[in-house]
Point group: C2
Chain length 321, copies 2
């Protein structure tokens, strides 16, 4: 029988680039910020306050995700989430995303359609339009997401703004994705809560702009691990940061999972990336916005310590290392 | 002897992600449009007219470029050029680019540094800053470039704006990259002019905003081939486009190369992509901006014809086909 491109088992090669782009973009709703969506040489997006915040993250199959561990929809949602978390960490709200997708010719079209279902769902949930991108051939599935955002008149919150005396605080999940990775690595598919956290992060998006409005002096999204990412704030701000381990929020569920695996939930919370929680420092006189937990202090000096000592646990993720 | 990370033969794995990012971004000049460059969770770029134009193209080793045919610097320049050409085709001027780079752990660091030399040079030449991006591991070198631009108060020129009666015109090189590909495919490295055109396109960037200011009704950058890309204008505008082949500018140098290879230079000009010339339609009453050549007409109907007939030559490039 001849290949039927409309059949769900068709590959991207059978469907073709233009037909595939048509199927994933047709009927896609666009927010008010999208002045011109996909289909032309470039998109046009509002930039209400005269500035645009922009970030890019690339996810590679076998490095950042596995399609035997996650559905294409979960991978798509994650690809958008990691970028929108970067915008949140500046105090920005998202307006638009662009998707550069590379995949082998024999990729099932339904895998690409699943990826786009996740990409669209996560973007739409945060008010961002998918306004453009590219689709090309490559040996493995590679997803490049660029997210654009708006500062709504606020100043961006930088990594370099921490000052001695600041309170260190976090908002969002810590250690859940690391726990999920440990569970999946042992061949288990549950508990669903931790496995789901590994498959698709749930960054506390709204907490970023709120922290900015509350006067946060520095902020970062935790993608490489709390200690590792606080290291970026300490280095950029020329300060020392001490984490008080007893204050680090570790969910009871994580302690249960850790006990079952013979692991330490606090290590996951201190070193696990991929939850995309937010860490920020606030002037100590100011009240913290709701949802944020104080976990440490900023002083003169350099580097990150835990309970006053250098941390000797596993460190964060660095590519090619 | 232990590996010396400062040695020019170091791999990206020996240098590490953060050190590599440091070496390629340190001392990078930024234009006035860059409010916050690389190094934080996201970049901040001016969007003077309250809108931002955005486009993304992904280049994959072995698909879009070969490092035995091009230097890393040429590949980097090309990756930026194809995106800035998309901005030009909207009538926009570039402000910033973001670079998502994926490559194997054993990629020589000097290859990545060479890529960035080209990326930076082409961006800087057009006034755009490299403001952010990502560096990750992947089986082949994959470069995702997102370019941002400014409309300077003008309306974007869409593919859908062509009207019956319009004059079809082109600006920039036609067929040069295709000639270069044919030469390289035969194992030759010269003539330098055509081989160079394949390695790094020279889009007529300034012609895009100028055409917009002159009242161009529709515009596209020629990346898949003149006939194929005019097909996008015809489809989006619901018009027919006829190309008058005698008016298509074919450089004498291309005729010479074609004669030597037993090829037809007009076919290269009609079907070759990758030169990133611009095609636009203008109201017939208006004078064309300098640098543009009238090559055809827009009428009621559908599809693209050459001298009134369906074109039966080789068609443009579509991924996975």
């Amino acid at each position: 029988m001849p290949a039927d491109p409309s059949h769900s088992s068709a590959t991207v090669a059978q469907l073709g680039e233009f037909e595939l782009i048509r199927t994933v973009t047709t009927g896609m709703p666009q927010p008010r910020t999208t002045l011109l969506g996909p289909g032309d040489d470039a998109a046009v997006v509002t930039a209400a306050d005269g500035r645009v915040v922009a970030t890019n993250d690339v996810l590679v199959e076998g490095v950042h995700f596995r399609l035997d561990w996650s559905t294409p929809e979960q991978v798509g949602a994650k690809a958008v989430a990691v970028n929108l978390a970067d915008l949140a960490a500046m105090g920005a709200v998202p307006t638009a995303v662009l998707i550069g997708l590379a995949c082998p010719a024999d990729t099932p079209a339904e895998v690409v359609q699943g990826l786009f279902t996740g990409l669209k769902k996560e973007a739409a949930a945060q008010g961002a339009g998918i306004v453009g991108g590219d689709m090309v051939t490559a040996p493995v599935i590679t997803i490049s997401v660029t997210a654009l955002g708006d500062m709504e008149g606020r100043d961006p919150v930088l990594r370099s703004g921490a000052q001695p005396g600041d309170v260190l605080a976090v908002c969002g999940k810590l250690g859940w994705a690391a726990a999920g990775l440990a569970v999946l690595g042992r061949g288990f598919r549950s508990p669903v809560a931790v496995v789901g956290a590994q498959r698709t992060p749930e960054p506390p998006y709204a907490a970023g702009p709120k922290a900015a409005a509350y006067g946060a002096r520095s902020m970062i999204d935790i993608s490489d691990g709390l200690i590792a990412d606080l290291g970026h704030i300490a280095a950029a701000s020329h300060v020392a940061i001490d984490v008080h381990s007893a204050k680090v929020p570790v969910a009871p569920r994580l302690h249960e999972v850790a006990a079952a695996l013979g692991a330490d939930a606090l290590v996951w919370a201190l070193t696990g990336g991929e939850d995309h929680a937010l860490a920020a420092t606030f002037p100590y006189q100011l009240p913290l916005p709701s949802g944020w937990t104080a976990i440490g202090t900023v002083t003169k000096g350099a580097g990150v310590t835990v309970d006053g000592r250098e941390y000797d646990g596993v460190h964060g993720w660095e590519h090619w290392k």
